[in-house]
Amino acid sequence: MALRVRERTSMSLYERSFLPEVVRGLGVTLRHFFTNLIFRGSWRYTETVRYPFEKRTYPERFRGQHRLLPREDGSPRCVACYLCATACPAYCIHIVAGESPERAVEKYPVAFEIDLLRCIYCGFCVEACPEDAIRMDTGIHTPAFLSREDGVVGRVDLLSLLGRPQTPEAFGAQNVREGKPRGQ
């Protein structure tokens, strides 16, 4: 890695005297203050979305709560290879592997638990999965829990979740307010 030396530029007397710069800064904040105070609608700089009442369209690749994908017979696609648990930076995935003599693939997860309280929703587990067995396409936010144990989601619950259809409404959008470009 090349070492980059960044010259520290010394300030001119004009800048060091602070006052003109302070006045300039006040000019900026006052402009915003009065614009937002006086005007309404699109003249405002403000772009606040009043979250619980208004929601924006989530991007298509929004990472919601995880789900396990089933095979045709309903058993999880997961083969308990531990790659998601290995990739997980938060150590929130707990797998116990088991051997099933009757199935075509002999290894399967006896337990597959995700601690949603630990999860940071980075999506590394999805990236790591060689079987496309775990996805984060449910569009579900982490729910609130009343106890730490509730935050641990097991194999059965993960399997029961469904992916969402690819429509704005399905992404939880209500009272959608389209954003406008910044700084107008």
């Binding site: 004009y14 006052l19 003109p20 937002n36 606040t48």
Partner: protein
């Protein structure tokens, strides 16, 4: 007896004014900062709906909600804290701020029909400017003791910073006022206010800021440092040490917060009295006035109308000064500690001293203060030219711009 009664009434008036303005400032701080930063600010607290929408009244209920929250929180004292000092500390800063308020004339003398005159000032004492400085410097005991009594190293660190900062800036604070003392020839607030009546050059208000614009700026900087608010909030430094009130909860903290805002009000009162002509407004309220609201309604000759006009003018000026301070607080980032000390000792102090000498010479040469006013106006114009002619800069892409 009557004068005592008037003093008590005046005290009640100024304290009510300061307290309610401080409470309002907690709301203004949020709302103003929100608008300056393209946010909405407080919009949630309400207890009823109006036309199907929550009745939030611009978020003013947040002040009440805050107060209620403060009251009902657990009052906690850490193990090993000095119980007495821990409880007393918040009161000290609060009390000293109120004492300074007592010295401020917030209106013209109330002349009754029987020609009895009552000052709209709780205490008209000689050298009240000096007393204000003296009492103001006692306020640091509150913060220092709070930090020490908390038995917490971060609180202690905050207290040390507060003490160092306070000592550094008190000097400049006092010295910037000397110029005005020389110009007005008095150290008493009401005399200083009275000296600022009339016009200069026939069109400018004859205010301290015209004679002493440079001192006004220095005073504002030093005084803001005394209030320990951004950009001088190192004693709090909420992102790293939380500050001297770290261990306070409930109303203990509430008093500190209130004190902070009362200090803003007090500072505004001082600034208005010394540099902005106090309760006077040329052409309207003052010796040559035609009356303002009440004066124009009921005739300027009525003593009570004139007094009320003065109070209104004073209140508006103080409010605007508070708003300016809030705006500065939400414009500037926090100083680094070495920058803070350098500004205090190497910039403000020598400049304040220079201001004293220049003012003294100008007043000696021309006791009518005209020369002082000319120099002051020239400085303001020069500064404006410098700002306008200042280096043009290429707009740099801000973070997150796309």
């Amino acid at each position: 007896m009557a004068s005592l009664l008037v003093s008590l009434l005046a005290f009640a008036a100024i304290v009510t004014f300061a307290m309610s303005l401080a409470a309002l400032l907690t709301w203004m701080e949020r709302r103003q900062s929100a608008y300056a930063q393209d946010r909405l600010g407080p919009t949630r607290a309400h207890f009823m709906t109006f036309r199907g929408k929550p009745f939030v009244l611009f978020g003013l209920f947040h002040v009440l909600a805050d107060g209620a929250k403060m009251f009902f929180k657990e009052s906690f004292m850490p193990k090993g804290a000095d119980a007495t000092l821990f409880r007393v500390a918040p009161i000290i800063g609060f009390a000293t701020s109120l004492i300074i308020l007592c010295l401020i004339p917030f209106g013209p003398d109330w002349v009754t029909a029987t020609s009895a005159s009552y000052p709209l000032q709780v205490a008209r004492v000689d050298g009240s400017m000096l007393i204000a400085l003296a009492v103001g410097s006692l306020g640091i005991y509150g913060t220092a003791l709070a930090g020490w009594a908390s038995n917490n190293r971060f609180a202690m660190l905050g207290a040390m910073r507060a003490a160092a900062q306070s000592v550094s800036y008190e000097l400049a604070l006092g010295l910037t006022l000397v110029g005005m003392m020389i110009a007005t020839g008095s150290t008493e607030f009401s005399a200083v206010v009275d000296a600022q009546h009339g016009l200069v050059f026939g069109f400018l208000p004859n205010w301290g800021i015209v004679w002493q614009p440079f001192a006004a700026v220095l005073f504002l900087v030093a005084a803001m440092a005394e209030t320990k608010r951004t950009p001088f909030d190192l004693p709090e430094g909420e992102s790293e040490i939380i500050g001297y009130f770290l261990e306070y909860s409930s109303m203990g903290f509430g008093v500190f917060m209130l004190t902070e805002f009362i200090e803003v009000v007090v500072l505004s009162c001082l600034f208005v009295s010394v540099f902005l002509g106090g309760w006077q407004l040329p052409w309207f309220v003052g010796d040559t006035s035609s009356g303002f609201i009440f004066g124009s309604l009921f005739g300027p000759s009525a003593g009570w109308a004139r007094a009320l006009d003065g109070m209104v003018v004073f209140g508006v000026k103080v409010f605007l000064m508070c708003a300016l301070q809030l705006q500065i607080r939400w414009t500037l980032p926090r100083f680094r500690y070495d920058q803070l000390m350098r500004l205090g000792w190497k910039n403000l102090l020598p400049l304040a001293l220079a201001n004293i000498f220049v003012t003294a010479v100008l007043v000696y040469v021309d006791p009518s203060l005209a020369l002082l006013a000319i120099v002051g106006v020239a400085m303001v114009v020069g500064f404006a030219l410098v700002v306008m002619a200042g280096p043009k800069r290429v707009a740099q892409p801000s973070h997150g711009a796309h």
